[in-house]
């Protein structure tokens, strides 16, 4: 085996960019809750953007490598060390055989994504290596890592990457350090926006919402001003997606994340835009969050711009690798 989780941490699971094609059978997208962060980390580690890495929640992971690997991570405000040397987010580093990589508890945010050159080699299940923690399949035997688990890694890419210990340069901060002290999530209107009256919508867009402790990979439960619809017609269940903000009868919204169910019957007031899902993935109990409306074309423009910047970053990296 190529790496051993000496300590698995609070909740560490194997994730990739998610599982598509099976929503009609009720299978969630899943994957890294911030798939962009995993893509950036994978690029840094010199691998395929869609390779499987580790999603680490609240830290505690201690990983020992059996052979030489390039590693990189992006996400919340974690203190990460190789041996005793600090490895900041968005940098890449060489881990030698016997080296230990340790993720301490996060100062801000709650999740991060570790990419390892060669990727994590677990079988594809329904087209993905992601762990479905609710239905218990994919990833490492369908479950979160436990202390002592031995992890098989993929074939190391050639020696294209110079073997410096820790890179002096890094990925752009907004990509690699995604936790924010006063997060604002941008949203587009949901199908049921108009079934809330002006004062309810005013509440939603101007007040702040707390993050409840019963939040998980399925969704962030929010606590704040109560949101009530003007009608109470029963809605017919239909598709929901990561980013969807539902308002159950209790009036406390739920922001859905990657492991959300494929369908829902609660009113959809709004949807957090794709480029802000990484910020949503860092919300932890006790945080407060605000929402700001943007238009659908604006949401797409932000996505296109980010992708163009990533393309430039990719080119820059390939020059570094030469």
């Amino acid at each position: 085996m190529n790496a051993i989780a000496i300590r698995a941490g609070f909740l560490t699971s194997i994730q990739d960019l998610g599982r598509t094609g099976f929503r009609q059978f009720g299978v969630s997208l899943g994957g890294a809750l911030d798939s962009f962060a995993l893509r950036v980390a994978n690029l840094l580690a010199g691998g395929d953007e869609s390779a499987a890495g580790l999603e680490i929640s609240f830290g505690g992971l201690q990983l020992r490598f059996a052979d030489e690997r390039i590693v990189a991570w992006c996400g919340g405000g974690f203190d990460v060390r190789i041996g005793s040397t600090s490895l900041p987010a968005g940098h890449r580093a060489l881990a030698r055989a016997g080296d230990e990589l340790k993720f301490n508890h996060a100062q801000s945010g709650c999740r991060c994504w570790l990419a390892i050159s060669g990727g994590i080699d677990v079988p594809f299940v329904l087209g993905s290596r992601a762990t479905d923690l609710r239905a218990n399949f994919g990833g490492f035997n369908g479950r979160a890592l436990r202390d002592g688990d031995a992890i098989r890694l993929g074939t190391r890419p050639g020696s294209a990457i110079p073997a410096t210990t820790i890179s002096s340069w890094s990925a752009p901060k907004p990509w690699s350090q995604t936790a924010s002290s006063a997060p604002i999530l941008r949203f587009v209107r949901g199908a049921d926006w108009n079934s809330f009256n002006a004062s309810m919508l005013q509440r939603f867009t101007s007040e702040s919402f707390g993050v409840s402790s019963d939040s998980d990979r399925m969704g962030v439960r929010l606590a704040g001003p109560e949101l009530q619809r003007t009608d109470d017609v029963d809605l017919i269940s239909e598709a929901v997606a990561p980013g969807t903000i539902q308002v159950p009868p209790g009036g406390q919204p739920i922001l859905l994340l990657g492991d959300c169910q494929t369908i829902g019957g609660y009113p959809k007031i709004a949807h957090v835009v794709t480029v802000d899902l990484g910020i949503a993935a860092q919300l932890r109990p006790g945080d407060t969050v605000r929402f700001r409306e943007i238009s659908l074309p604006e949401a797409h423009r932000l996505l296109f711009e980010r992708e163009q910047e990533l393309e430039r970053f990719r080119i820059g990296l390939s020059l570094q690798n030469k």
């Binding site: 009609q24 059978f25 009720g26 239909e238 996505l303």
Partner: protein, 238 residues
């Protein structure tokens, strides 16, 4: 037909406004729309998911732009293609009704499995035996698959058997449990929490990630339940 955004990377095609009035016709319309969209192969579309009155389309805005949509018009560009795909075939030369699969589901209504059979019977003012007969006699259709992977929501439950969900959901319902929730019946594919009234258990496996497709049932399938004994259940479980 109404097309509304579901965030910036998905949209919902609302084929009909209501479901309960005409479940059969609605499902047929939804399935026809689903198939046409599948055949249309619209650039940038990742996957489709039908449910009750709608078909959801998940797409990659970047691929949509690459296929020729102006960056600020990705949604309109897609919506236009969706309308064309749904309308273009019309009814010319195509049968109005599509072939549907009929799936038989064996169910053991043994008291040990049927936590809420007596409750359902009491509410319906019939005996447990009659609940089983009524549940067996009806023909159901899968109107949606979700909640957990492979969970079929079945319409067609005899009105008499409609039972509200439990006020407090159970923390754990065994895999294979056949249950009633409101006007629908369904099957729990895996052990999970749930609020439906459990009336029996099937030995069939509703979801297997090693299979493709992974779910036994899909939207549109016709379903019939038949009663089996405890002994037959044990044999089929092996």
């Amino acid at each position: 037909m109404e097309i509304t955004p579901l965030g910036d990377s998905a949209l919902i095609v609302r084929v009909r406004d209501r479901f309960e009035d005409a479940p059969q016709e609605t499902l047929s319309d939804v399935l026809r729309t689903f198939r046409r969209l599948q055949n249309a192969d619209i650039p940038g579309v990742i996957e489709l998911a039908p449910a009750y009155t709608t078909v959801a389309i998940f797409f990659d805005p970047l691929q949509v732009a690459k296929a020729g949509a102006k960056p600020n018009q990705a949604f309109d560009w897609l919506a236009e293609r969706v309308r064309a795909a749904v309308a273009v075939i019309g009814d010319r030369g195509r049968p109005r009704t599509l072939p549907v699969r009929v799936i038989q589901i064996p169910v053991c209504y043994d008291p040990e499995f049927a936590f809420d059979l007596d409750h359902v019977a009491a509410r319906a003012h019939v005996s447990s035996r009659e609940v089983v007969d009524l549940h067996n006699a009806a023909e159901y259709r899968v109107s949606c698959v979700g909640f957990v992977p492979g969970f079929p929501f079945l319409s067609g439950l005899p009105k008499k058997l409609a039972t509200p969900r439990r006020a407090t959901p159970r923390k754990e319902i065994p895999a294979g449990s056949v249950a009633i929730g409101g006007a629908q019946t369904g099957i729990y594919p895996m052990r999970s929490p749930g609020g439906w009234n459990v009336i029996g258990r099937t030995p069939l496996r509703l979801f297997d990630p090693e299979n493709d497709p992974p779910a036994l049932l899909r939207v549109g399938d016709r379903v019939q339940f038949h009663s089996i004994t405890r002994e037959e259940f044990e044999v089929l479980m092996q």
